[in-house]
């Protein structure tokens, strides 16, 4: 049974976070997720099929993603479409908050050093 506390999933790996972001934008099928991640990160993150589908599989099993029951037929090819679940939404938000907090801390420290004579 999936865990329900978003914080229990943190921190997320960069690939996982990017996948959640990509699916948050719109429900997507696997290859589409790969392209979206690649596009957003300008090619810096370019997951291999194994890494991607294993991550998708794990996220589904953990309840962060949901899969539409009926495969969508697009150009004659059946594909599974991944949606963000409400838990997934909360986890992504929590991760974003966590990262914002870290970045804030870094900024604060950088500003402190910048003020030093």
């Amino acid at each position: 049974m999936p865990l329900s506390d978003p914080d229990a999933f943190l921190p997320l790996t960069p690939v996982t976070f990017e996948i959640l972001l990509a699916v948050a934008e719109a429900p997507r099928h696997g290859y589409d997720v790969m392209l979206a991640v690649e596009r957003r990160t300008k090619g810096r993150i370019n997951p291999n099929p194994g890494t991607l589908y294993r991550a998708l599989d794990r996220l589904v099993r953990q309840g962060l993603l949901e899969v539409t029951d009926e495969p969508v037929v697009e150009r004659g090819e059946p594909r599974r479409v991944f949606h963000l679940s409400s838990l997934g939404e909360r986890v992504a938000a929590a991760e974003a908050e966590r990262m914002a907090d870290q970045i804030g801390a870094a900024r604060a420290r950088g500003a402190f050093r910048g003020r030093e004579p």
Partner: protein, 909 residues
């Protein structure tokens, strides 16, 4: 493009198989999508970075599976176990995995690496041995694949047949161009018939230096038959095929890119060939033309430009067979069925055209067979040799693995005692074999690729130019299969045997068991047998090669440079103008610093082409019976002296042998005298040659020259008649210059000198005569070198094997040896026992090997020159060599055994 789409599809299939490494649950959910993703990425990789991009992507995808599949299996397994235990918490990463499934296998692999790291020498030897065997086989498989299996890169190439005329004297040859229409009309058993000329050198001017390009004339239907479609422009149209002197040319992509650049599009470009302008109408991808020595007058190069046959100077003549006729068998059609029809076709042809040739028959062969015939034996011989080498390598690997497994008897026994099942141990052994096989395969592939590129550089003479030797996925797959099969079969089987045969039951008894020793002695015998077979084969070829090199060609090639010149171009239409040009050219060459003598001949010895004509000797009965073919050579004064061909009677041609001389002269060779003028002095006898236009004038023999090996060093001398150039104007001559400089250095000066006389003269084939002579033995040299290399490796491997087995036996029997020495045996007795064991196995192996060598010798005999296939020297020498090697390889470890201190030996157990 289609080819790329096909290979992507094939790769995707392979990828789907790889996906089986994931758990069934994961596969059901995602494998279809993953395969599609893989395919999409393949296409993208090709679009972005071409073939290298595709290769990189495929490697990445394979590594991806190798990395993610085991991890996925582990997490699935953990979850399943968690669920089984009723726990909701996923298992901790630190949980000890059992010895089932992938986790256990991963553990096995880690264990293997540790094991090999502990025995680096053994690991390196195993991997190198396997690498040598698979590498040699892979390279030879690549060559065999290119030369025999993929020889013809045409669609349904197996259905393409070659129809030829054949007569007992000249063998099979093509047809005069006009006959294509008759053949098309009369042969009903073939779907389409088309013709092409063999390679045809044409002078290309106006595009850089004047040079020769290799052209082929084609009839309509030929491009269809060979499946060629233009990249740019079009092929010839009906009018171009039909009109006499159809003016259009199609060029290859390589030719186009070299001369016009990669970016240029086809516009109004044209080529000036033999002084005439041909507009380029189309660009073809590479279309290797099927060429072998057995197709008429081929110069061995593949065409780069194609012209309609109507442009061929012989297109209208029914007397000159310059056309190869190819056809396609219909579905279900057989060569035999068409062959049955050919007799009646021939009869009909002879009725209509009595000139077609007396005594000829029509023959049909599959094009593939004709093209691969010359090279088949060489390639198969070398492939067999590589296979033998691989076998030796396998036996060696098996030997080492067996020794390893026996040595590890105690370790395995302990593991069994601790509860490891036989399956578990077998899997461990399998993992070992797989790791060794993978490493060996990688070494083998690298070696194979290197050998292949070396072979490409050296060149297998007689390899069809259409052959494209490369290490591709298929060849790599072949290598991988070999390496894995070898190690799994020879690694796991003997090890399991060791497990069963009681080594373990005895609780790790370190003394050699009878079974293990017998097996290893058997291995030694097998290795020696294979090595002897290979060594004898190599020895025979080597001796044959030496005999060939020792053949006196009948002339001295040192310091000679050949300059072939076409005399009839640039408006030299009359014999007088051609003679004047040649005189000028020879004069200009002689005046060059470094040139000491100059002469010319129509065909140089060993040049590959010869002109046969019929000859009639005066007073020798009616024509027809007394006529027979001779080699007709046309030479200038000074030719014999320059080539150092001895004049054994009479005189050489001189300045008095002029066009208008009342007594036209001839020089015959010794073979001619032996066969045709055996009685009395040949000088002063008269003969005449049957030329294309009818009988020539009566010639008086003025001299007799020594025999020259015109047709190859391994052939016998043919009867020859030389005539002076002044009295027999021909259209092309080869100037021969003797230079005191290096011929290569002199070539440039010579070219410039000729170009000042005729700037349009193509001079690409200026090269040293010695080089020419060397190239005629290139193929036997290549065979001998490769086989010798293999044999040397085989000898080293066999020696290693014998040494290994005896050293191992010595180590195992330290205690026994110690007891013997303690009981008073002299060290020499101990040495004798051990050496005797090694040599006995080797002797048995050598006997079997000699029988194998006899069989190999039979297969090799057509390649041998003046060496019997059962040459006693080779057989005896190899036997002696192998026994010396066996003796040494057994003596070294045996001596060590004899020096063991009995006390240490007894304590050792």
């Amino acid at each position: 493009m289609k080819e790329i789409a096909r290979s992507v599809q094939r790769l995707t299939k392979v990828y789907r198989i790889l996906l089986r490494a994931y758990s069934p649950r994961f596969r059901r959910a995602y494998s279809a999508e993953m395969a599609k993703t893989f395919q999409a990425r393949c296409v993208r990789a090709i679009e972005e970075r071409g073939r290298p991009g595709l290769i990189l992507w495929v490697c990445r995808a394979i590594l991806d599976v190798a990395w993610n599949a085991p991890l996925e299996r582990i997490s699935t397994w953990r979850e399943a176990r968690g669920a089984a235990a009723g726990s909701e918490v996923p298992a901790k990463p630190g949980a000890t995995p059992g010895d089932s499934g992938w986790v256990g296998l991963m553990q096995d692999f880690r264990f293997v690496f540790r094991l090999l790291a502990r025995r680096p020498a053994l690991a390196v030897t195993l991997v190198l041995t396997l690498g040598l065997g698979t590498g040699a086989t892979t390279a030879l498989f690549g060559i065999m694949d290119a030369a025999l299996l993929r020889a013809l890169p045409y669609p349904n190439a197996d259905d393409i047949v070659l129809v030829r005329q054949s007569d007992p004297e000249f063998g099979a040859y093509g047809f005069a161009p006009p006959y294509i229409a008759d053949l098309r009309e009369r042969i009903t058993g073939l779907e389409s018939l088309a013709g092409f000329s063999s390679s045809w050198d044409l002078t290309l001017t106006g595009l850089g230096d004047p040079r020769l390009v290799v052209a082929s004339y084609v009839t309509d239907g030929l491009f269809d038959l060979f499946g060629a479609t233009p990249l740019m422009g079009r092929l010839f149209d009906r009018t171009e095929y039909a009109t006499s002197g159809g003016h259009a040319v199609v060029v290859s992509r390589a030719f186009w890119e070299r001369n016009f650049g990669t970016e240029t599009t086809l516009g109004a470009q044209a080529l000036t060939l033999e002084g005439e302008i041909y507009p380029i109408v189309g660009v073809l991808p590479a279309l290797p033309m099927p060429i072998t020595a057995s197709i008429v007058d081929s110069n061995g190069a593949s065409a780069e430009v194609w012209l309609p046959f109507s442009a061929n100077p012989y297109a209208e003549l029914r007397s000159i067979p310059v056309m190869n006729v190819v056809g396609r068998l219909p579905d279900g059609g057989t060569v035999e069925a068409v062959a049955g029809e050919l007799d009646s076709v021939r009869e009909a042809l002879v009725r209509d055209y009595p000139d077609i040739g007396v005594g000829t028959t029509l023959v049909i062969d599959r094009l593939r067979e004709v093209v691969t015939r010359d090279v088949r034996r060489t390639v198969l011989t070398l492939f067999t040799a590589a296979g033998l080498l691989l076998l030796i390598a396998c036996v060696n690997v098996a030997n080492m693995l067996l020794a390893l497994s026996t040595a590890r008897g105690q370790e395995l026994a302990v593991r069994r005692a601790l509860g490891a099942g036989r399956r578990r141990i077998a899997r461990q052994l399998l993992a070992e074999s797989l790791v060794i096989a993978t490493l060996g395969c990688m070494v083998g592939l690298a070696l194979g690729a290197w050998l292949t590129s070396t072979v490409l550089r050296t060149g297998v003479a007689g390899l069809p130019p259409s052959a494209d030797v490369r290490v591709d996925l298929r060849v790599a797959g072949f290598a991988a299969l070999l390496a894995v099969a070898t190690t799994v079969f020879f690694g796991v089987a003997p090890a399991l045997h060791a497990v069963r045969s009681g080594v373990l039951v005895a609780g790790g008894d370190r003394r050699a068991t009878g079974v293990g020793r017998r097996t290893r002695n058997l291995f030694v015998a097998a290795e020696v047998a294979l090595a002897v077979t290979l060594l004898v084969g190599a020895g025979l070829l080597e001796r044959s090669f030496w005999n060939l090199v020792q053949v006196d060609p009948g002339f001295r090639a040192e310091g000679l440079l050949q300059i072939p010149m076409g005399l009839s171009s640039s408006g030299r239409d009359t014999p007088g103008s051609r003679r004047a040009f040649l005189d000028h050219a020879l004069g200009a060459l002689e005046a060059l610093p470094g040139a000491s003598a100059v002469a010319a001949v129509n065909r140089l010895p060993l040049g590959g082409s010869n002109v046969f004509v019929d000859v009639e000797v005066e007073g020798e009965g009616p024509a027809g019976e007394a006529r027979s073919s001779v080699d007709r050579r046309v030479a200038t004064p000074g030719y014999f002296d320059l080539m150092r061909i001895p004049i054994v009677a009479g005189r050489e041609f001189g300045p008095d042998d002029l066009p208008a001389s009342p007594i036209p002269a001839a020089i015959v060779n010794e073979t001619f005298v032996r066969r045709r003028l055996p009685d009395g002095s040949p000088v002063g006898r008269r003969l005449r040659l049957m030329l294309r236009g009818g009988p020539g004038p009566w010639l008086t023999v003025v001299g007799v020259a020594g025999d020259v090996q015109h047709h190859g060093l391994d052939g016998s001398a043919q009867p020859e008649v030389y005539v002076p150039y002044a009295q027999a104007s021909v259209e092309s001559m080869v100037a021969v210059v003797h230079t005191t400089d290096s011929p290569a250095g002199f070539a440039e000066t010579a070219r410039k000198a000729i170009w000042t006389l005729d700037p349009n003269m193509p001079l690409d084939e200026v090269l040293g005569v010695e080089e020419l002579l060397r190239s005629t033995v290139a193929e036997p040299r290549f065979r001998a070198v490769v086989l010798n290399g293999f044999a040397a490796l085989a000898l080293v491997l066999a020696a290693m094997g014998i040494y290994g087995v005896i050293a191992y036996a010595v180590e195992r029997r330290t205690r026994e040896t110690g007891v013997r020495v303690a009981l008073g045996a002299r060290p020499s007795d101990v040495v004798l026992v051990l050496v005797g064991e090694g040599v006995r196995s080797a002797a048995v192996g050598a006997l079997i090997g000699l029988a194998g060598a006899w069989a190999l010798g039979q297969a090799l005999s057509p390649l041998l020159f003046e060496v019997g296939s059962t040459d006693a020297l080779t057989f005896g020498g190899v036997s002696a060599l192998i026994l010396v090697v066996a003796l040494t390889a057994s003596y070294l470890p045996a001596r060590r055994a004899a020096q063991v201190d009995p006390v240490d030996a007894l304590r050792a157990d």
